[in-house]
Amino acid sequence: MSTTTTTPPTPSAPSGHTPLSVRSRGAGTRRIKDRVSTVVLTAAMVIAMIPLVLIIFEVTRRGIGVVDLDFITQREPPPRREGGGYVAGFVGTLYIMALAVLMSIPFGIATAVYIVEYGPNRLTAVIRFFTDVMTGIPSIFVGLFVYGLLVVGWGGLGFGTFVGAVAIAVMMLPIVTRSAEEMLRLVPQEIRNASYGLGARKWQTIVHTVLPAAGPGLATGSMLAVARGIGETAPLMLTAFGSGLIVTAFQGSAQGAVPLQLYRGASQPFEAGIDRAWGAALCLFALVLLFTVVARWIGSRGASRTS
């Protein structure tokens, strides 16, 4: 503060207290430490932002020249030839994601309904806990599981669209459940009571009142889950397996997907294939960002409406 305060050499007042005007020992170091910590923490924040900026910049720069109409309508030529596109991957991803959404979102929301509307009891506590734990299961292990269960094991179905979708659905399920659970908890109790007061049964209340009230929130969670599922690669390597051709079969022949094709393109040494991989990365990233941002937007709109 003021520099004159240190000049009076009176160390203590007669009462034994140190007057406030005397700066205690170490005050300078403490202030410097405080300043340094502020600078260091701000620098950490900047460092944490850098990777995202770099990734967005680089993916856009390398990908923008590759993505055109051909890229989404043509098949991929051998890696050293230029041109062509990822249509097989796009069709495969669309197919797999549609099936995965049909499987994971109804089950996820139903689980959340059970937890919120019929809980809390011991079973809901166990389900909640294991849903949380399930979010941490390695994606490659989910692939191994579906491979062991459906591709060769009891199912014996072989590689294909459906088993790939099952793997993605298993990845998405806990995300849908956890977010739906939080959204259902936000629905005010008065709305339920009003519905009961009109004579509605419990299932009628849930289906006609609670779920619509939580609608925007449920959409948010589902879209975040889709954004996560769309970029999953590892489980698909073991279930859909990958294909360069457009596959319309529901099950039985290996199916392609954008992330799989991207991985294969990026890990071979030919420049043309790597360029296409950047293009695919741009498309994938744009889709994921679109889903994430729209989901948050719907979520924040819904939140501001109910509050």
Binding site: M49, Y114, E117, F130, T131, F141, L173, I206, L284
Partner: protein
């Protein structure tokens, strides 16, 4: 959250006049309840099936090598047999690779996550705090294959490789930084992993830091503490268990990450002390060799998967128990 009211309607006696008399209406409620209960139990069924299927699939390998022999053996030589186990299965090189990359990732991400979390809660200008934390969480949305592509074709040649060559030139006498620098290896995989686990760790630490009681902080300020003293002596010590939980969740992610590691770790089956050396993690080895593996080899990969699952489950359950005891809700980025 119990909503008992409608289940015991007070007007039982004149029910024959109301809608409750129709048999369809009477059955609908229990049916609905059973359907949602079954959906809820599905999670448990899936997890049980996971354990059963993969363990039974991998069982022959564990029988032949012994569980600990499988973990510490350092030769992986998959046989080509169709229905018996003829090869040698030792997963140590992959376990080593997994541990090394995860430790590198945590060593970088943990301090950074703590600093970012503290910055966001205590120092960021009020208007910037939300967009900034949103941006960090956006990093969690980037698919791992894009991290791999970016890491392999931009970050590694342009940033990491020159940095590694510098490290090798100055610290090459130290066994961790022994050359040659090949580009891909444990260190680049660990660094990219650090970027990938940063968002989830930041999100959890931020929430734990944000709910520390304000009274204690105000009291510390009233005693004349600087902001740094409040953070380092009041806020962080009481956030310790949350930081532990975040570390374990980050560790769980780092152990199981596949594609980005696969593209950056080099994919060899050897192991060595130098961080510049190439290797494989458990997950990356499964993904790299699965396509061409024989049925017997796939059994071996299944065994690696089971070991990986065990480790990540233990780490995750510990982390979740800590988080639950804190009574925290993890944010969207954390799922």
């Amino acid at each position: 959250m119990s909503t008992e009211a409608p289940e015991t309607p007070p007007a039982r006696e004149d029910a024959r006049r109301g809608t409750l008399t129709s048999s369809r209406g009477r059955l609908a409620d229990p049916i609905f309840k059973w359907v949602v209960t079954a959906c809820g139990a599905l999670v448990l069924v899936i997890l049980a099936l996971m354990v059963l299927r993969t363990v039974s699939e991998a069982w022959p390998v564990f029988v032949k090598e012994g569980f600990f022999g499988f973990l510490v053996g350092d030769t992986w030589d998959a046989g080509g047999s169709r229905d018996e186990i003829t090869g040698t299965y030792g997963a140590w090189p992959f376990i080593y690779g997994t541990l090394v990359t995860a430790v590198i990732a945590l060593a970088i991400a943990l301090p950074l996550a703590i600093m970012v979390a503290v910055y966001l809660t205590h120092m960021a200008p009020r208007r910037l705090a939300k967009p900034l934390s949103y941006t960090v969480e956006l990093l969690a949305a980037v698919p791992s294959v894009i991290f791999g592509l970016w890491g392999l074709h931009w970050f590694l040649p342009n940033v990491l490789r020159p940095f590694f060559e510098f490290l090798e030139a100055t610290l090459g006498w130290f066994f961790l930084f022994e050359g040659p620098v090949r580009g891909v290896g444990y260190l680049p995989a660990g660094i990219v992993l650090a970027i990938m686990i940063l968002p989830i760790m930041t999100a959890i630490i931020r929430e734990v830091v944000a709910v520390q009681p304000l009274e204690q902080q105000m009291a510390a300020y009233a005693l004349g503490s600087t902001r740094w003293e409040v953070v380092s002596k009041v806020v962080l010590p009481s956030s310790f268990s949350g930081i532990v939980a975040a570390t374990m969740l980050g560790l769980g992610r780092a152990l199981g990450e596949t594609i980005a590691v696969l593209m950056l770790i080099g994919g060899s089956q050897s192991w060595g002390a130098s961080l510049f050396g190439t290797g494989s993690s458990m997950a990356s080895h499964i993904a790299a060799t699965f396509g061409e593996a024989s049925p017997e080899g796939r059994t071996g990969l299944m065994a690696i998967g089971v070991a990986l699952f065990l480790v990540t489950m233990i780490v995750n359950i510990l982390a979740r128990v800590i988080v639950w005891r804190l009574g925290q809700h993890t944010g969207d980025a954390a799922v």
